[in-house]
Each structure stands twice: as C-alpha cells, then as structure tokens.
C-alpha cells in the first residue's frame, strides 16, 4: 500500500484528528485518486476501527474520535470526487422509536455507517411511526435502522414494519433493528430483515442489504 495512504489509514485508526486534514490535503496533491484515498485510506481505517471495537480492544470514546477524524479527512477529499466515484454505497434512514430518547447507540451506528461510505439520514429520537414511514416513502432509502433501549418501546418497531406493509413500502426497504433489549429472536418475530448486536454488525448488515 502506498505509504501516504497508510499514514491516512493509521491517522484515522489512532484518532489523529489534528493532523488528518493536512495529511489528506498533501496526498491529494500527489495525484492519487480521491476515491482511493477514501476507500483505501478512510473507509479501510474505519473497518479496522470496527474490528477493534468488536474485539473489545477499543470502546466508544476511541471509536467516536476515529469517526470524527475520518469525517474531517472526508470533508477535504469529497469535493474532489468526480462522477460516480463520489456515490455513496447506499442510503440508510436511522432513528430511535417513539417514546424512546436514547440515542448514543444509534449515533455510533450512524458514525460507523458514514465511515463505511453510506449516506445516513438521522431522524433523531422519539420518532412517530408516521414520520418514519413518510420519510421512507419520500427518500426511498435502501435500509431503515430502528433503535430502542426500552422494553416498553420495542413494540414500536413492529408498528413501523406493519405500517410499511400497509402502505406497500415493505418490499422496498430492508429493516434492521438494534438496542440493548432487542435480540435476533425479536427481530425475526416482528418481521425485521436483520438484527445488529452493535455498530459493527449494523454496518455489515447494511452492506449485505445493498449487495457489498
């Protein structure tokens, strides 16, 4: 691997947020394609970060700093992309269900999805079923990710899926669910397409849904 790309990759993994912008600027001047910088530098770094998180080597604070670093680098290189090279891997709509205000887990998933090259639209917390379904109808994401941290709000996930079905939208979007009280059995019971135990699994699911 090109040494400069390796530096960018390591910079993101190590969360060197103060250096990343100048590193990326410099490498872009050398003629290496912006897409290569993104795929082999920035996104590849976040794959490593995700693995380290799954392995329990790093935790949420380090992951957040790496995601922040990646985004700073991406902001420098993205304007240089041309044509289809800049296209996101897919669009993911994310939100925490009605009645639930917890968002850290969801926010980590958003960061990791963006780090993996997805366009993410984050509806926030406490979102109505109607708002979720209307947004799916409007922006046609490939993936819908729903988060719940309370056992009392888990049923909202089922309501969303039922409403998507009622509106003829169910087949047009893959639904993944997550959150502390949720598990694979619950996901299957409510007719979701997948369950992500953590942000890394959520990214893997999203990738599988869009065919990467």
């Amino acid at each position: 691997m090109n040494e400069s790309i390796q530096q960018i990759k390591e910079g993101v993994i190590e969360g060197r947020h103060r250096e990343i912008e100048s590193l990326v600027r410099e490498i872009c001047k050398t003629g290496i394609s912006p897409d290569t910088v993104i795929q082999e530098g920035l996104i590849a770094a976040m794959n490593v970060v995700g693995q380290k998180f799954s392995d329990g080597e790093i935790f949420v604070p380090e992951m957040m700093v790496s995601a922040m670093t990646m985004k700073l680098g991406l902001n420098i290189v993205k304007p240089l992309l041309t044509g289809k090279a800049g296209a996101p891997k897919g669009t993911v709509l994310m939100g925490t269900v009605k009645g639930d205000l917890h968002d850290i887990g969801k926010n980590i998933v958003v960061m990791m999805l963006e780090g993996a090259g997805f366009q993410v639209i984050d509806l926030g917390v406490d979102i109505d079923v109607e708002k979720v379904v209307a947004t799916v109808a409007e922006i046609r994401p490939q993936v819908l990710g729903l988060s719940a941290l309370l056992t009392t709000t888990m049923p909202e996930m089922k309501r969303v899926i039922e409403e998507l079905r009622a509106r003829g939208l169910r087949d047009r979007v893959k639904v993944m669910v997550g959150g502390a009280p949720v598990d694979a059995a619950f996901a299957e019971k409510i007719g979701a397409d997948g369950y992500g135990r953590d942000a890394v699994q959520a990214v893997a699911l999203a990738r599988s849904f869009v065919g990467h």
């Binding site: 969360g15 935790f59 604070p61 957040m64 700093v65 009645g99 205000l101 850290i104 926010n107 056992t151």
Partner: protein, 336 residues
Amino acid sequence: MKATPYNLFMSALYGGRKGIRPPTGNPTSIACVELMKACGAFFPEAHLNARAMADLALAGHELAGFDTVMPEYSVHQESAALGCEMDWGNETRMPDAKTAPYADFSDVIVPENILEKPSLRVVLDALSMLRREVGGQAAIIGKVMGPWTLSYHMAGTQNFLLQLGLGEKDKINRMLRQLMPVTIAFANAQFRAGADAVVLADHATGNLVGPYHYRDYLLPIHQEITARVGGPMILHICGNCLDRLEFFAESGVDAYHFEWQVDARTAVEKIGKRISLIGNLNNPKTMFQGTPEDVYKQARYAIEAGVDIIGPECAVPLTTPLANLRAIPAAVREGY
C-alpha cells in the same frame, strides 16, 4: 442467626454466616406498574413525594417479597438538584434530564444546601420513614449516583465520552472531582437518615468504556468515596464488566451488583471471595418477557453459582409482571 430479611441480607452483604436461605435484594428499582397499582403509589409522584416513595419501596418488601426496601427509582435525583431541567416521566417512563448544564465543562457549581434540594430531601425523608416503619426488619437500601454518571448528566453522555476519547484528562478529572463531594455528602446523609447500605451507581459500563478507563479515572475516585462514606456500599455498573471485575473488588465497596451479561459462576470465581455479589437475573428476556418459571430457573442458577444476594440485574422494565418479581423470593425460599 435469626432468619429475618434484615439479618439474611446484611450477613450476605458482608460475606458472613449463611442462614436457612439466600436473601433477595434490589439495589436497583423493582418498581413496576402492577406494584404501583397494588400499593397506590405511582410515578411520577413517587420520585418527588416522600410518602409515595416510601410506600412503593415498602410494596417491594411486603407485596413482592424482597428482603429489602429501596426508595430511589430514578437516576436523576442529583442531576435535578444540580440544575438539569427534568421530565419526571410517568408510570411507564422513567425520568430523563432534558438539559446538560455543563456541556462546556465549565466548573460545576454545587449548591451549599444541595441536600435540601427537593429531589434529594425526598429521598432522605423516605429513608427516615422506612427506618421508622421497617428498620431492623427489612434491609433499607439507599442509592447515590457516582461522579461518572453525574458527569454524563452534567456534560451530556456523548459529549463526555468524546472528551474522554480526545484524551482531555484534565477536563474529565476536574469534573469528576467537582462532583465527587455530592456523591459522598448524599451517601453519608442517607446513612444518617436510616439506610443500612447505599448503592453507588456509576455507569462506566462495559458497553461504553473500557476497563482501562475505569482503572485510570474512576477506581481512585471510588476508593476515595468508599473511604469517606460511613457504611457499606454496593457498586452498580451495568453491562458486560467481566474485564474489570478485579478493579471493582479493589474499589472498597462491599458488594457488586452485576448484570446477566456476566455469567454468575464466572463472577463468583473471579471475585466472590473478595466482595459479595448481587444479581443477576436478565431483565428484557426473563423478568419482562419470561414466565415465573423462567425467573425461578435463573434465580436457582445464581444461587447454585454462589451469588450472595439474588435479584434482577438492573432496574426492571416498568411493565414487568408482579408474578415474575415474586418468583425470586419463591426461588430463595427453597434454601441453598
């Protein structure tokens, strides 16, 4: 030893003589809608009215059959007193802070009369009522939030974790040390008010931060807290904390209240000789969605593993069936 709920719990808390059966205990809330209906004390009143708070705690002992009464249900009594704008929730929704008054990590101003703030005063008054009504009969458990949890509330959890990731050690330590006196003062006040033990809830959870974060930032603070608090403390930290159990055993607490994600046998093997263990029945699957038989099986597993005091892993979901809560005392009544 007389087999009273108080004796059984307190002896187990100190790793002392075993009685005819294991004790049950709830370092965290067992309030649920069915219990509220059964005793007539509901959320949100039970967070802010001492009589309602005490009545709901008594119901945990008299109606659900636990050996303990624990009157603090929310994690926001201190944050309300420190200036967070609160949504006190309802029967099916726990309170939540709407603001984080120190998101900029400016110096935390702790009011001199903080123990007189309504959200703290109510806990102290409820503990005194419980002391008068069941003192020496059921074990009275108080609860305080530790400086880590309070920092989440003051700065915003995500903001705090980001600063931690950025290596802002001075910022983090300063906030922790400015909040530590609140934890110590409230804990000591709870003992004076009538608590037999006080839970130190400090959410450096395995799902968010690493064992090295606990070791480097919080362990010295917990050691200082336990040295300056008069009575026995029970540490509550959520999540899979298998990788940091030994640190907890060094913190100076007398017991660790742990979650289902840590296997009971493993926890006992690792630290069971050093501090007592309380837990660890699974909430979402077993207490909430399971049957009394499921609860019974998990309780027996914990007993046979050597867990000292049996109870749910964390605050139970508010729509947990009362029958499931009662299945825990039913399991311990069979003895060891």
